[in-house]
Amino acid sequence: MEYVSPEGLRLDGRRPMEMRQIRADIGVVAKADGSALFEMGNTKVIAAVYGPREVQNRSQQLNDSALVRCEYTMANFSTGDRMRKPKGDRRSTEISLVIRQTMEACIMTHLMPRSQVPLLHLGELFLHECVVCSFLSLVSLFFQIDIFVQVLQADGGTRSACINAASLALADAGIPMRDLVTSCSAGYLNSTPLLDLNYIEDSAGGADVTLGIMPKLDKVTLLQMDAKLSVETFENVMQLAIEGCKAVATYIREVLLENTKQLEYRRGI
């Protein structure tokens, strides 16, 4: 099958190095501490963050840092065939784990260990909550951060979209982070590296590299590939994915900045 025409256009009209249109929205779930909606073309995910809050399950508590939990689900209506999917199937367990590990790498969990609560470092919302229950700091307190991501519409690259959404939601929740994590996928079809695969390209059976980076720190937090590639090709594909991640980061920063300005405006500062 021809995924890139000799004219250099992909099936949906993009060129190999182009991403789909991305769009993000912050604060879409009022009840959550932080939330975001992220779209990459027809892939649409929503993320909500709760916490830091008290650990619900004592057996999971960590002594020296906060616990990060993540739950990835796909809405039943997110794919064409409207199949009812069992919760906690292997795929979503795996993706949940992947997202959790990626986000854990950037959240400064060591700032939220058991007893020291360095309020100064924490974000605005957290500060607010802590003031309410400040007397509790005398009691030992274990923190956990819950990230919920749900795929509303799936068209390839859900993993990346979820990470980007989670990253935005964490920022929205004011959780201290080393850097934003952004993610993008890249593949290799018809001997051409392709950025940001959509569903048809994803299911073509070629290599699919999902990359998550911390753009400011220039560090990789996630790298997955589900096929074989020669080292040189892999480097090209990965380089492309890095470019993609950076482009996402620029956009996410813009969105956050815009959001902050709005908040400032509302507060009348």
Binding site: E7, L9, D12, G13, R20, G80, D81, D155
Partner: protein, 934 residues
């Protein structure tokens, strides 16, 4: 700009789902005209000052691809919507259009109208997909018209009346193909036009005139849905139709569902299927299987009588199979084999065919359209009706014709003229025909390919010598042994005795991969060609001539780069160690087989080279002996050799190719090198090595051999290759040619050896039956076989010298390369054979000869004989053609004998007969060699 395309589709499970896909519209799609001031013209393909820019609609591209390929049509904008539709409808046409678009000599530009912001159209409610696409084509044409603003005329070419009318209404100039071609005033182009399939309309008019003539000749093909359900329920069987080479009225369909071949007799049952078509077949009731038995075979002559069609006339009904013409036949006990009829064609295998027109009287008033019948050189193809305006030019020419359609009312398919090859009977023309029929690319190498060659004149540089991967073997006494006059020498040998009494034996192969790097145009071209093709008087190279004859060729007294396999062998030819290395060698002698043989035989010669030859020969004999012990078959084939007149290139003499000890010696070492390399590469790359295997023949395949052998009182054991080899060895009679004849028959029963990728099969299947080798590959002729080039790369990678090119990671690519190599290899063989046949015809044209022949197969009305002296096989008829029945001859299946009823005469298989060879031309333009009993 973003658009969402949504459509509903049925999933494999049968559910209906809605699919939504993104569809981006762009600003950066350019028009491709260099004159354009707005667009980026770096990718422009159209000519700088086009007078007319053509835009074709889908149906025109689909039907008139032969016209589009003609250089007269240029400055074409191919819309992406058209390409997409063509791709969905006919992939081979799509590939041809794509080839045109990428051909730098042609001015075809692909305009991605579907992704351009101004030319994308959304489906309107109530509009069918076709109408929407037609509208998209018109919108694109209009866009071009305004975009280029009068600097060029945009012409939409469509045969759809409605589309044309709407286009003109919208202010786009539009024409039909025919009127456009007429306006070019090139009458020869008109012949390329495909007559629209809706010709039935004209037919009806004819029907009024001669109602009795208009008969439905063929039964209707079943609709696809019915075929699929029929295949499901097992009432139909699917398979590829293969027409009998000797009898175009008989075909076989190998069906997996039945596990046997279904025989199809007669054109009516074949129901318009061509050789190579994938068809659906229905079995005939069992009682009809017998009825067909009487049908021996129709001969080509049978078609003869109603050749002369009145222009425009309808065809006669074909004879039904029930009244068979007498003739050359198969004597299979047919009752046991199912016969059937074609109910539908799943996939057509139509392409273009070489042949000539049936001679016919010139229609009154030349210049008009004449209807002619085209007879393909390939006898399996039925005659094809074509319309031509240049009849007088074509009658004595070999031409290429493509098939367009075959409706149930006409006896023959209709087609159109594509091009002329040359004068009939001319040797060059006929050779060209052979090449075209076997799909052999004879085009000169393109400039991109030639650009990959090293600068000439080339010689080994100091860098090559300094390179640590390359061993300097120039001091060795290396020599080559090849057929006389061989210019592409790809192998050389050396043999030195070591102090410990052992020998060091080296096989040095031209280092082609040093010059042919992967993923270069040169490599792509070589991989497409697959192999060099050797014809009697000509060679078509896989690599450009400078590489083939100079840079790579291991000629005498020049330094050359090689890839060497070096063994240490005991005098008993046991291999002690093997090493592989790239090297620099300097051959001291390029011997011919005859010279090498003469040196070995001349006991007075004691020079070092001759000693080496003798040592090697001694080793080779032991190796050969051991190989035969293991069960390798010594098969024989009827290879012939021509002596060609240097002036006229006409064959002067013809004889069997003689095999000498020197040939066997070289062969033995090449086999050993191939086996060693196969082991090495498979060890390193168990999943992506290119190997060669020879499948074990099944019992059914060996059946004809066993029957013949039994008839002459010979008991062959075919349980294993070893057993077969032994029984072939013991098959001796008092006549010296007997054994060879049996071997030739055995060779015919074998399948072809094939290339494959080791990842596709399991190790037991790697076996090479004929050589009795568990592993085999081709390493020794990289100049003329692409497989060897791949193996060289694998070997270099396994030694860590070079990196393995990326295609080896792609299993499907590798498989498709292996398939292409097998296809090219087979075609090259067919072409050589056809070339030999052609020269045999030329040879015997002036020399009718009487000679000795052996009977190899008995048929109901004659037998096939093999002429050892010339390597010719052909039928000898006992009953004159056309005489029905041939009842006075009786075939004894058991004894493989044909006997006259009164017992006065009988012929049995392998018997020697005297025959007369002569060229006859029973059908004009189809000369053939006739064999008659003296």
């Amino acid at each position: 700009m973003l658009q969402n395309k949504s459509f509903v589709k049925r999933t494999r499970g049968g559910k209906i789902t809605k699919v939504v896909r993104e569809h981006y519209l762009r600003h950066d799609i350019y028009c491709g005209a260099p004159i354009c001031k707005v667009c980026d013209t770096s990718q422009a393909r159209l000519s700088p000052t086009p007078s007319t820019i053509l835009i074709f609609d889908t149906n025109v591209v689909l039907n008139q691809i032969d016209l589009l390929e003609n250089p007269a049509i240029d400055d074409v904008v191919v819309l992406s919507i058209v390409l997409e539709e063509v791709k969905n409808r006919n992939l081979s046409v799509y590939n041809r259009v794509r080839a045109l678009c990428s051909n730098s000599l042609r001015k075809f530009f692909v305009f991605s109208n579907e992704h351009h912001k101004d030319t994308y159209v959304t489906e309107m409610s109530g509009e069918s997909k076709n109408d929407r696409n037609d509208r998209a084509i018109r919108v694109a044409a209009q866009w071009y018209q305004t975009h280029l603003a009068g600097s060029a005329r945009i012409l939409l070419i469509t045969n759809d009346k409605e589309n044309k009318r709407k286009a003109i209404e919208e202010g786009i100039s539009a024409e039909t193909v025919e009127s456009y071609v007429r306006s070019l005033s090139r009458p020869d182009l008109l012949d390329l036009l495909v007559q629209p399939a809706s010709e039935d309309v004209n037919m009806e008019e004819v029907e009024d005139l001669r109602p009795s003539k208009r008969k439905i000749i063929y039964t209707e093909h079943k609709p696809m849905s019915e075929i699929t359900s029929g295949l499901h329920r097992g009432i139909y069987h699917q398979g590829k139709l293969r027409v009998n080479r000797y009898n175009p009225f008989e075909a076989y369909v190998g069906s997996e569902s039945i596990g046997d071949e279904i025989i199809i007799y007669g054109r009516t049952n074949m129901n318009r299927a061509f050789d190579g078509d994938i068809v659906a077949v229905e079995l005939l009731p069992q009682d009809q299987w017998h009825e067909e038995k009487s049908l021996a075979l129709a001969d080509e002559e049978d078609e003869e009588e109603d050749v002369h069609l009145v222009p425009g006339s309808a065809d006669d009904a074909p004879r039904t199979t029930a009244q068979p013409p007498g003739s050359a036949g198969v004597t299979e006990p047919i009752s046991s084999r199912p016969s059937g009829r074609v109910v539908g064609i799943i996939k057509r295998n139509w392409h273009s065919y070489c042949g000539s027109l049936e001679p016919m009287a010139m229609p009154a008033g030349s210049g008009g359209v004449a209807h002619a019948l085209f007879a393909s050189k390939d006898r399996r193809i039925p005659k094809i009706r074509i319309h031509t305006r240049q009849l007088e030019n074509l009658l004595d020419k070999r031409i290429v014709v493509a098939v367009d359609s075959w409706d149930r009312l006409s006896r023959y398919p209709s087609g159109h003229y594509v091009r002329t090859i040359g004068q009939i009977g001319d040797r060059d023309t006929e050779t060209e025909v052979v090449l075209i029929e076997n799909d052999i690319n004879t085009r000169p190498f393109s400039s991109q390919v030639l650009a990959c060659l090293p600068p000439l004149p080339w010689s080994v540089s100091s860098e090559d010598l300094a390179n640590s991967i390359r061993q300097d073997l120039r001091q060795l006494r290396v020599f080559s042994v090849d057929p006389p006059g061989c210019k592409d020498i790809d192998d050389a040998l050396h043999c030195t005795s070591l102090p410990n009494g052992n020998y060091e034996v080296g096989v040095h192969i031209a280092d082609v991969t040093n010059f042919v790097h992967s993923d270069t145009p040169l490599d792509d071209e070589a991989s497409q060609r697959g192999t060099s093709v050797y014809l009697v008087e000509r060679r078509i190279d896989m690599l450009p001539k400078p590489l083939t004859e100079d840079v790579c060729s291991l000629r005498a007294d020049v330094e050359r780069l090689a890839f060497s396999v070096i063994w240490e062998m005991t005098p008993e030819a046991e291999i002690i160690s093997t090493r592989y290395t790239k090297s620099v060698i300097k051959s001291c002698a390029a011997l011919s087989y005859i010279e090498a043989q003469a040196r070995m035989d001349d006991s007075r010669l004691m020079d070092p080279l001759t000693t080496d030859l003798r040592n090697m020969n001694a080793l080779a004999k032991i190796m050969r002996e051991r190989r035969i012990q293991r069960g390798a078959l010594t098969l024989a084939s009827a290879e012939v050799k021509f002596q060609i007149d240097t002036e006229t290139h006409d064959p002067l003499d013809i004889g069997m190719y003689q095999i000498r000890e020197a040939n066997q010696m070289v062969e033995e070492f090449m086999l050993a090198a191939n086996v060693s390399v196969a082991e090495k590469i498979l060890k390193h790359f168990p999943l992506c090595s290119l190997l060669r295997r020879h499948p074990t023949p099944t019992r059914e395949m060996l059946e004809p051999l066993l029957r013949t052998a039994a008839a002459v009182g010979l008991n062959l054991d075919v349980s294993s290759s070893k057993a077969l080899a032994d029984s072939l060895d013991s098959a001796v009679a008092d006549d010296p040619y007997f054994n060879k004849l049996i071997r030739i028959l055995a060779t015919r029963c074998m399948t072809q050896a094939v290339y494959f990728s080791s990842g596709d099969l399991s190790p037991p299947e790697y076996l090479h039956y004929g050589l009795a080798a568990p592993l085999y590959t081709h390493f020794t002729s990289p100049i003329r076989r692409y497989a060897d080039v791949i193996v060289h790369r694998l070997l270099a990678a396994s030694l860590g010298i070079q990196k393995l090119p990326t295609i080896f990671q792609d299993g499907t690519r590798l498989t498709s390369i292996a398939d292409n190599l097998n296809y090219r290899h087979r075609n090259a063989q067919m072409a050589s054979r056809a070339s030999v046949e052609l020269h045999t015809l030329i040879f015997f044209r002036k020399r009718p000869t009487d000679t000795e022949a052996r009977i190899v197969r008995i048929r109901s009305n004659g037998f096939f004989v093999f002429v050892p002296k010339y390597g010719i096989e052909g039928p000898v008829y006992l009953t004159p053609r056309g005489e029905k029945g041939g009842g006075e001859w009786f075939v004894d299946e058991q004894q493989q004998k044909i006997r006259k009823m009164d017992g006065s005469m009988s012929y049995s298989v392998l018997q020697t007969v005297f025959i007369h060879l002569e060229i006859v031309e029973p059908q004009p333009n189809r000369p053939k060699l006739q064999l008659t009993l003296v």
